[in-house]
Each structure stands twice: as C-alpha cells, then as structure tokens.
C-alpha cells in the first residue's frame, strides 16, 4: 500500500532531498513534506517539484503540529548527520541527531495517523575492531560499543526507535543500516577523502571498504517508504575493495601515517576544512567493516545494482578525478619495457 502523506526529514541534504523528489514524482502519493532547519539548495528545491518544504526544527515540539495537521502517515527520518563540521560542531550534531529524534518520535507517538516509520541508520553501529567477525549480520552486536560520535548517536537513536516500536505496535518500523555512500553526485567524507591527491592511510593497516552507490541508497529508501517492509536491514553493495586498492583505482597516492600520528593528521584535515574526519572514521580505516546484505536481498527484496567496485569506479569517472599517475602512462611504460626486452633478444 502506498502512503498518502509522507514526511521526510533532512531534505536539505542529498539523500533526503532526492528522496523527496522521487516521492513527489510518484502520483499515488498525495503530499510530500520535507523538513529541515535550512532550506535546500536551489537546484535541489527545483528538483523536488510539488514536495512542500517546511522550515522546522525537529528538536522543537512544533514538529508534532506539522505531523498532526497534515495527518502524516509515513515518516522517513533521514536527517542523521555524520559530519560534525557541517552541522556546527559535535555538540550541535549530537543534539540534532539524538534530541531531534527523541522529539520526532514523541510527536509521532502522539499522532494516530502515523502508520510507518523509516529510519536511515548506519552500519557504523557495528563498530570496527580486530575482534569482529568478517561480516556483520543484523543480529550481531558490536564487541566494543562505539564510544562516541556518530556511531554512538546511531546506536542511541535505534534504541529510542525500539522503544517507540514497543509503545506503538501498530506502526511498522524499518531500520536501514547503510554502508558508506559513494557516487558522482553525493558529497560525503569518503568522496572528499578519495579526491585528495595524497590519501592518508594508517601505516600497516589496510581496511576492507564496503560502499553503496547513491542511486541504490535512494532506491532502497524509496522502496522502504512506499511499501511496508518492517525490520532491520543492512544496506550495502556486494563485494569489497581494500582501501589501498581503492586508492589505486582512483589513481591517488597513499600516504601511510603511523598510528600514533593519525590523531594530529586527522585534526589537521579537519581544521583545514579539507576532509571532516572523525575518530571513528579513522578507526574504520584501520580495520574496515563489511556487512552481510543477504536479508536485504531475500526479505527486503532489493539487489543493489552496483557492486562496491562498480560504485567506486562510477564515482571516479563521474567526479572526473584526474589520476596522479595516469593509467595510459603505466601501460606505455609496460609496452616500452616489453619492446626493449624484445629488441634485446
């Protein structure tokens, strides 16, 4: 059954905004409301078409009024932020993430019209450590609970959502644990990281990286919104890339940093506003994280169109990264050596 009134939070950012645009293009949905504290960029607003933008703060109880007046039946909470820089520091980010979700859930609990709740969560809830199994499935819990940052926010938010689901058993709750997004259009820490000519890595460690193409992410969010598929799902592409391999595919050069120097280096990048690295992202670069997407295929009924490698290549092509060492040069060098060897004979 398709929803009639959908409320999407975090529409001024890529996923929320494009999801609102996709939903607005669906004639079966009567109304699409987009909520955020700042208005979306103009081109995104144009793309959103008939979706209505409501400038509201989900931390404010006023959001309850918006939900009840429009008699919203489906809420997509996609405003979770991972970057302290863009959301005005870590304290503001935590407030926005955790307190905002609490307010939103409180408002939804009071609204009898709400029937469906979709949360954009993250696979960071599994943490990242050498004691973890190679692949996480939805039932696993992390060995060390994330001690801070975005991952901790996400764990807490999922906890509040479980409480909400207990109090409102009539609402179908879908939690989507996304892997890191990548693609030609989206702007994330990862896309900025791989755009650096010298990519800092942790010396002696090579993480397994699993990604998800932005279009796949949007398609999953759209499917979760328009159909009732309750449960927790890992959303990630098939296959992995090693971090070193990804850096080579992007034609970048790795800059191995000893693990003791990782803190200062990431602070430098954060301070220089080049890449907004948080400590848990640095930990991810140590050990990596791979999730099992079997439930996504079988229960949720969605197979990602891009594998991790294809998604990464699409990002490299789409964002027109100029390789530091062009592959043509490598190939011509290879041919040169071979012909030199042949002439020797």
């Amino acid at each position: 059954m398709t929803p009639s009134v959908v409320l999407v939070t975090g529409v001024s950012r890529f996923l929320g905004g494009h999801l609102a645009a996709r939903l607005a293009a669906n004639p079966e949905i009567d109304r699409v409301l987009g909520v955020d504290t700042v208005p979306p960029p103009r081109d995104l607003l144009r793309r959103m078409g008939r979706a209505e933008f409501v400038r509201a703060d989900i931390r404010n109880p006023l959001i309850g009024k918006v939900i009840s007046q429009a008699s919203v039946d489906t809420v997509v909470h996609a405003s979770l932020s991972a970057n302290p820089g863009s959301s005005g520091g870590r304290t503001a980010m935590k407030e926005m993430n955790v307190i905002g979700t609490m307010q939103l859930l409180a408002a939804c609990q009071k609204a009898p019209t709400v029937r469906r709740m979709v949360l954009k969560s993250t696979s960071a809830v599994y943490g990242s450590s050498p004691r973890d199994p190679a692949l996480f499935d939805e039932a696993m819990t992390p060995k060390d609970l994330p001690s801070g940052g975005y991952a901790k926010d996400a764990v807490e938010i999922e906890g509040y959502l479980r409480g909400f689901a207990r109090r409102r058993p009539d609402v179908s709750v879908t939690v989507l644990r996304f892997a890191n997004f990548i693609g030609p259009r989206i702007d994330t820490v990862f896309t900025r990281y791989f755009a650096l000519p010298l990519v800092p890595t942790v010396l002696g460690y090579d993480a397994r990286v699993q990604l998800l193409h932005e279009e796949d992410a949007l398609a999953v969010l759209e499917r979760a919104t328009s159909q009732e598929i309750p449960g927790i799902f890992n959303v990630a592409a098939d296959g992995v890339l090693m971090l070193s391999q990804a850096i080579r595919r992007a034609g970048r050069l790795p800059l191995p940093v000893p693990s003791t120097a990782v803190g200062p280096v990431s602070r430098f990048f954060r301070g220089a506003r080049i890449v907004d690295f948080s400590p848990e992202q640095m930990r991810l670069l140590n050990f990596g994280r791979v999730v099992d997407n079997r439930r996504l295929r079988t229960v949720f009924g969605f197979t990602p169109r891009w594998t991790t490698m294809q998604a990464f290549d699409d990002y490299v092509r789409g964002s027109a990264l100029r390789p530091v060492i062009p592959p043509e040069q490598v190939e011509s060098l290879e041919r040169g050596i071979l012909s030199a060897a042949r002439s020797l004979r």
Binding site: P130, V240, Q245
Partner: protein, 333 residues
C-alpha cells in the same frame, strides 16, 4: 652472449618440431632443410613463437601485467579480504623455498583432503611462531591436485598487529569465530584451525608433541552445523624450529604478547636467532571424520561435541606418536 642465445633456440625448436610433425606441417619440413637452413626458420618459428621465447620473455610479460594490475587496483578481493592474486604470486612463492629446501616438507595422506567442497583441517600447533600453519597452506596448494587455498582461522591478536594482520587477511585468514568459520565452510572453502591456540604454539620445548587442551570445541560445532568433514592433520618437525626453553614474562607483558620466547639462539644471537632451525617436517592428513551422519541439531549438544573433539584430538596425538617413532633424527628425518 650470442651463443647462449642460439642454443636454446634450437633445443626448443626441435621440441616444437616433434609436436608439429603430428599435424599438417610435416610436409614442408623435410623439404626445407636441404634448400637453405636460415630461410625456413623464421617461417617455422611463427607457430612456435609464443613457446620459443617463453623462458624469460613471457615471464617478464606476466610480471609486468601483474605489476600493472596491482598498480591500477585491478584485482578481486573477497569479503574476508582474501587476495588470491597476491597470495598466488607473492606470498606462496615467498614461502616455497622454506617449504621445499629448508624444512623439506613431506606430505602424507593428501588424498584424504577433498578436491572441492568445504572441509575443516584441524592440526596441532607448535613452534613458537606459527610457521606450521603457513607450511600447511603451502602443502595444500602445491601438493594437492586441487591446488586448494587454506583459509585459516587466527587469533584476534594477529589481526590487531600492524602489517601482519593485514597480510594475514590478504593471505586468506580470518578471525577464529563461529560466524566466519561457518560462512567459509558453507561456501565450500577449505578451512584450517589450530584449536590449541597460544597454549600449543607457546608451550615449552620439554612438552613437545604433547597436545594441549582443544578449546571449547567451537570448531566441531561449526563443522557439525555446516556438515563438512573434519580432517585431522598432524605436523611433525615444527616443534624443533624454535625450541622454546624459557619465557621472559615482563617483556611479554610490555609488548602485550602471550609470551616472550627464549630459544638457544634467540636473544643471544640477536636477529640471527630468528632463523628457524632446519628440521625435517612431515605433514600427515588423516582419514576424514564425517559429520553429515550426525544431525546438525546435535551441534549444540555438549556431549556430542566433546566426544567428537576428543576423537579428533586422539587421532592427531596417535598419528604424532607414530610419526615420531618412525623418525630417527629431527633434522635428517
């Protein structure tokens, strides 16, 4: 220089000629030599061209293509981080001299290891440094007709260590935990486990070839659940490579290691003490223990699991004693 170049050319050519004689090319060949010797050579070389410079030119071509693929990141890695290309072209060749010339490993009962499908190799652990697991991996790749890759289960300590942990993942190892073991075995991989863990590898030299406790039998329940055979594997020779005669506990604590070994040569001769003693090795694979006759529900039954664990342990211990009684000398075999 020029002589060295010509001689293999002829040797190779004659080899190619005998093969070509079977085909349609046999007629021009008897006619060619009487007319002129250098004339037909370039012609006859055309079909044998790719074979003839094979010795070094093809090898160079392969190496360059390999290097280019590495440089461009164009190689597959599975979700555990296993890098087949790196393992086959770098890691295994690096271990091969150690396997062939240094330890002169002899394998027995290789036919017990299935050519395809999942199986669990359970072996004794020894030698202070886990060379026994690496040698078993080389054995199963080089001396097995299926050229199987052994996916080893390792302790978390290994994956925490820089460089070593990364290399272990690329070589196909993963953390010794039930989800990983079951996932690998149900995907039809050959999994290797050393259930004694640090108790086995770090035991003093006087306890050599005495099997330690086999953990909690987690490997048995994983095999029961995935219904793959358990292959007991006994390794003789690895105990003598670094005879651990002492343990400096404070240093071990300082490095966060389970032990800091003292061998007759190690701290004494400095880095020279890191060279393993050239003992003669035997790796015997025993008869597979079937688990598909037992219902997977019994994987949670402690009695079944303990009995099976004991059976595996006894088999390995007895094979060790038998191999040891046949051995006359630790270094000559």
């Amino acid at each position: 220089m020029s002589e060295a170049r010509v001689i293999p050319l002829h040797a190779d050519d004659s080899g190619a000629r005998t093969r070509w004689r079977l085909g349609a090319q046999s007629t021009p060949r008897p006619a060619a030599p009487p007319v002129e010797v250098p004339e037909p050579q370039p012609e006859s070389q055309l079909p044998s061209e790719p074979e003839q410079p094979a010795a070094w030119e093809e090898a160079l071509e392969e190496i360059l293509a390999f290097l280019r693929r590495r440089l461009e990141g164009d190689y597959p890695v599975d979700e555990f981080g296993f890098d087949v290309e790196l393992t086959d072209n770098v890691i295994l060749p690096a271990l091969r001299p150690l396997y062939r010339s240094w330890f002169r490993v002899e394998t027995i009962g290789m036919h017990h290891v299935p050519t395809e499908g999942g199986a669990l190799v359970v072996a004794n652990h020894s030698g202070t440094f886990p060379l026994d697991s690496l040698m078993t991996a080389v054995a199963l790749h080089d001396d097995h007709p299926g050229q199987r890759h052994l996916r080893m289960l390792g302790a978390d300590l290994m994956f925490r260590m820089p460089a070593l942990g990364t290399l272990a993942r690329k070589q196909g190892s993963t953390l010794a935990c039930t989800p990983d073991a079951e996932r690998l075995m149900s995907h039809g991989e050959l999994v290797g486990v050393w259930p004694e863990g640090f108790k086995g590898i770090g035991k003093p030299f006087r306890d050599r070839y005495k099997l330690q406790r086999f953990g909690r039998g987690g490997f048995v329940s994983a095999a029961l659940r995935t219904r793959v055979p358990i292959i007991p594997c006994s390794i003789v020779g690895a105990e003598e490579i670094y005879p651990k005669i002492g343990d400096i506990k404070p240093l071990a604590r300082l490095f966060g290691a389970p032990y800091f070994p003292v061998t007759p040569t190690f701290p004494l001769l400095g880095p020279l003490g890191l060279v393993p003693l050239p003992s003669k090795w035997y790796i015997e694979f025993g008869e597979p223990i079937r688990t598909d006759t037992i219902s997977p529900i019994d994987a949670d039954d402690p009695m079944t699991v303990f009995n099976l664990t004991d059976q595996v342990r006894e088999t390995i211990q007895h094979t060790l004693y038998r191999l040891l009684s046949q051995r006359r000398n630790a270094f000559m075999g």
